[in-house]
Amino acid sequence: METPSVYLDCAATTPVDPRVFEAMSPFFSGRFGNPSSLHASGRDARTALDEARESVAASIGANDPTEVLFTGGGTESDNAALIGIVSKAAPTGGHVVVSAFEHHAVLEPAHRLEGRGYDVTYLAPRRDGCIHAEDLEAAMRADTVLVSVMHGNNEIGTIQPIAKLADVAHEGGALMHTDAAQTLGKVEVDVRQMGVDAASFSGHKIYAPKGIGALYVKRGTPFEPLLTGGGQEFKRRSGTENVAYVVGLARAVEIMLEERETEAPRLSLLRDRLLEGITNAVENSEPTVASGERLPNIAHVVVKGVEGESMLLQLDHLGVAVSTGSACSSGSLEPSHVLLSIGCPPEVAHGSLRLSFGRFTTEADIDYFLEKFPAIVEGLRSMSPVYQRMYGSSGTEHPVTAQS
């Protein structure tokens, strides 16, 4: 039998939707103009760019299209927001708060700011996977310039109370940024309702290509561009605009919003079915975060007494793509900083599994996973020298029968 291909790693990336590809395709060879050119070809590209910007701006609730910059992806958006806002708002130094479980695209620029003399607080989430307003309040200082907390966590899928956190930031005289790469089109994302001054978005999480993102910067927000040159994007992001990809991003956002009403409940059902199926069939497994508002398309579980990479590889062998927060998958010796930040012990974090899915995931995919997964865990646990000792019901070790 041919190995099926079940892709449960949509939080890592998604395929380009054929409708997105179709919208983009005229802009590679036919409508190839440079939006800065005055001639007809340039004007055509400019029109496409402007329309895409208007569409994205309207989708995220921006007041004005000029508040939306197109970037080379979520990582650039995060870097531009942190470095760009802080450098301009407090050129001589100050204090920045970022949550401890941000994506590395926020954590690394925060480290860079630290290297330049800024103070940075890495605010820990609580065990529920959320940053609490009172914890942020306690972290604020008189010289806090910027607070950055992600909207939806890319590993455990928890949604952060951005509107409340933005209130705290503003009351403390700071600006507020949120990385919304995982939430755009999946839950409601409205920059005005959230009250943020800046927000980052990524294309390839929502069926647009890799290498395109957007950054919302509210009018009047101090901002120093990362890239200077020809002055494109209102002098905030130089470089000839990637018109085809911008058009693709706009189309991708439109489709997400058109389909969200039916898609979000469908995905939530798949998520709950996965979580229930796993925890029922596999002893000593549980959802990493028990309750609260979560992304509909991420199911995160910890499976005790099994190492994540070995689960990932065995699933891969059966045609199922997933990801894990174990140390061994990351290339470092530490398990995921996200799991450690919510108080998950390292020996448990090593056994974490993230299953993320989307538009092209079917119930049959979930059933296939649930059919195969329990035996994988059982096999790996039977190979472990410590499973019975650590988690066995009798508390005594039962030697596994030798086999050749």
């Binding site: 007494g305 099994v306 190492e307 994540g308 990479e309 070995s310 590889l313 065995q314 062998h317 174990s326 140390a327 061994c328 998958s329 290339g331 470092s332 010796l333 398990p335 012990p345 390292p346 020996e347 090593h350 790996l380 190979m383 472990s384 020298p385 410590v386 499973y387 650590m390 030697p399 596994v400 029968t401 030798a402 086999q403 050749s404």
Partner: protein, 126 residues
């Protein structure tokens, strides 16, 4: 990132389990780091007559455990104790740099089992 040989050993690990009435048992690593290896051996005429492993760990940890049981079976204790992390990595057609510690763990596990055997053996002689 893994060689086909690593994947082959990961997917079909050899000599999984525990040797009954083992002459030596070595356990190294700990769950906090994510890897635990336990190697048990039976010794006859100063050679490894039987060897089995149990491992909690990543693909490389399981593959290195599996291959070291194949390498060590039939070896004299001295030869087996001399197996290096490089020998193990070479036998698997290489390991990614960040996974070299797994081969260290396998070599340590085997040495610990041999050590355990020698300790028991010397007690018997007294």
């Amino acid at each position: 990132m893994y060689s086909p040989k690593v994947m082959e050993h990961f997917n079909n690990p050899r000599n999984v389990g525990v040797v009954e009435n083992a002459d030596g048992v070595g356990e190294v690593g700990n769950p906090v780091c994510g890897d635990v290896m336990k190697i048990s051996i039976r010794v006859a005429e100063d050679r490894i007559a039987d060897i089995r492993f149990q491992t909690l760990g990543c693909g490389a940890a399981i593959a290195t455990s599996s291959i070291i049981t194949e390498m060590a079976r039939g070896m004299s204790l001295e030869e087996a104790a001399g197996i290096t992390k490089k020998d193990i990595a070479d036998a698997l057609d290489g390991l990614p740099p960040q996974k070299m510690h797994c081969s260290v763990l396998a070599a340590d596990g085997l040495r610990a089992a041999i050590e355990d055997y020698r300790k028991r053996d010397s007690r018997l002689r007294v």
